[in-house]
Subunit: 245 residues, 2 copies
DNA sequence: CGCACTTTTGAACAGAATCAAGTTTTGTGG
DNA sequence: CCACAAAACTTGATTCTGTTCAAAAGTGCG
C-alpha cells in the first residue's frame, strides 16, 4: 500500500492553476505513482513564498528551479536593456504563472517584482516535469499553459507594433478589467497596482502620454480616473477604440 | 522482437530540431517503446510538406494537429487585426519551429506563409506529446523549445516597446545575420527574403521608414544595400546602435 | 506632518507617419 | 528571352503623434 497524503481543496486549486483539471482520482490514487512520486506531488503544491511590496521573486540570471503560481497579490515582470531601459513584459495576478521563460536556459530571463504584498505557490520544475511524464492530463495542460503565454506575448506584439497610444491604453484597461472580472471582482471598477511609468513601459509609451491619454478618456466620458482608481464608464466605446482606424 | 525502422541521419536531424539530442539509442532501441510507438516515432519524422512561395502553411483558426520544423526555405508568421492591420510576429528559417501558439486552443492563432519555396517536416502533435511521456530527454527539450519561443517574444517586446526605428532595424539586421551565420552562411552578407513592408510590420514601423533608415545606414557606411541584398560593413557600430542612447 | 514619489498639465520639439511622385525590380506570358 | 505590367522601393515635403523638458499639484509612506 502506498503512503497517502490527503489533498485539500485549497491545495488542489493551486495545483490546478498549473496542472489543470487533473481529477482528484488521477492525482491522488495510485495511477502508477510510486511512494516517491506521491511525495513529489505533495512537495509540488506545499511550498509557499511570501513577498512584501517591492520585493523580487527572482532576478534576471538567477538559476531556475521553480515555476510560481500567484496565490494573492500582484507582480510585474520586466527585462532590463544594457543601457538601463526597462521593458515591462507583464503584470501577473492571482492564478497566473511566472517563470516559464526560464525553462529554456535554466536561468531566469527577466526580473519579477511584487507590486503589493504577494503570496506565490512554488512548483519545483524538475518534479513537475517528471510528474508530467506520468500524468498525460497534467502534461497536456502544462503544454497549453506554455503555449498560452506565447499567444499572450503575440497579442502584446500586435499592440506594441501596430496600435497608437490611445488604442493601446484602451486595450490595456479592458484587459485588466476582464482579468479582475474573471476573478470575481468588478470588470469596470478597480484599482491600478502599478504606476503610470510601469503602464507606459508595458505599453511602449512615456508616463506623460499615459497620464494625458487617461485624462482625455475622462474628458470624453469614457472612464473616471482618480489616481490609481479607475472606472470604465463606456466599455463599448473603449472596445471600439481598440479596433477602429 | 519489435519492428524496427532504420532512422537515417537526415531524419534524425529533423527530429532533433524538435526533440533535441535524444541519442539514437534512446530513439531507436526498445526503451519501453511498443510496436505502436515505434510506428508513431516513424510517422513523427517522415511526413514532409512542400510549399510554393506565397502558399500558406496554416491560417488563423485552422484546427491544430501538428508542429512544423523548417527543412529549407523561409516563412513569416503574422496575426491579423480585425480592421485588417497585419503584425508580422516572426520570420522562420531552416531548423526553426512553427505552430507552438496553437497548442493552447487547438487552433492556430496566426497565419504562416512561405516567403520562398519551402519544405517543412510535419510533426503530429498528439504523437509528439504522447512520446514525450516516455522519453524524458525529448520532453525536456520540447519544454525548452516552447520556453525559447517565449524568450524570443519578450525580446521582440523590448524592441517594439523601447527602441527607436534606427535601433530596431540595426537589431533586426544583426539578428538575421546571426541566424544565417548559425546555418553556415555568411553572417554579414545575405539576401532579405521579405519586403520592406514585412520588415516594417515586424519592427512596428512603416515601409518608408525602413527604406529611409537602410539608406541612411548606407550613407553612414554601416551597410551596403542593393534591393534585397544586404552587406553589413561595420557590425560593431551596428551593435553599438542597438544599445546606445 | 513632512519629504519623496507620483501625477498632471503646458509648451516646444523630434521622430516617424502620411501623402505623393518617380524609379527599380520582379514575375509572367508571349 | 524579351516585353510589359504589377509590385516593390526610394525619396521628398508635410503633418501629426508622442517625446522631452519643465513646473506645479497631489498622494502616501514613514
Amino acid at each position: 500500500m502506498l503512503p497517502f497524503q490527503p489533498i485539500t481543496a485549497q491545495n488542489l486549486r493551486d495545483l490546478r492553476a498549473i496542472c489543470g483539471n487533473c481529477s482528484m482520482r488521477e492525482l491522488c490514487l495510485p495511477v502508477g505513482l510510486d511512494a516517491q512520486e506521491v511525495e513529489t506531488l505533495d512537495a509540488l503544491i506545499n511550498t509557499r513564498r511570501r513577498l512584501e511590496r517591492g520585493e523580487a521573486l527572482y532576478r534576471t540570471g538567477d538559476p531556475f528551479h521553480a515555476l510560481y503560481a500567484v496565490r494573492r497579490g500582484f507582480l510585474k515582470t520586466f527585462v532590463v536593456h544594457e543601457d538601463g531601459r526597462e521593458q515591462v513584459t507583464g503584470f501577473q495576478m492571482t492564478g497566473e504563472i511566472l517563470g516559464m521563460d526560464a525553462i529554456s536556459t535554466d536561468h531566469h530571463a527577466c526580473d519579477a517584482l511584487a507590486l503589493e504584498d504577494t503570496e506565490v505557490c512554488e512548483v519545483p520544475f524538475d518534479a513537475l516535469e517528471h510528474l508530467s511524464g506520468t500524468l498525460p492530463t497534467l502534461r497536456r495542460h502544462f503544454h497549453k499553459t506554455l503555449s498560452r503565454e506565447i499567444v499572450r506575448d503575440q497579442g502584446l506584439m500586435l499592440l506594441l507594433g501596430s496600435m497608437r497610444a490611445e488604442e493601446r491604453l484602451a486595450a490595456f484597461l479592458l484587459n485588466l478589467g476582464q482579468r479582475f472580472g474573471d476573478r470575481g471582482y468588478s470588470r469596470v471598477a478597480f484599482n491600478l497596482r502599478m504606476t503610470r511609468e510601469e503602464i507606459g513601459s508595458y505599453l511602449g509609451m512615456k508616463l506623460e502620454t499615459v497620464s494625458r491619454t487617461l485624462s482625455r478618456f475622462q474628458e470624453e466620458g469614457l472612464i473616471v480616473v482618480q489616481g490609481k482608481a479607475i472606472e470604465l464608464l463606456q466599455v463599448e466605446k473603449l472596445k471600439a477604440l481598440t479596433s477602429c482606424r
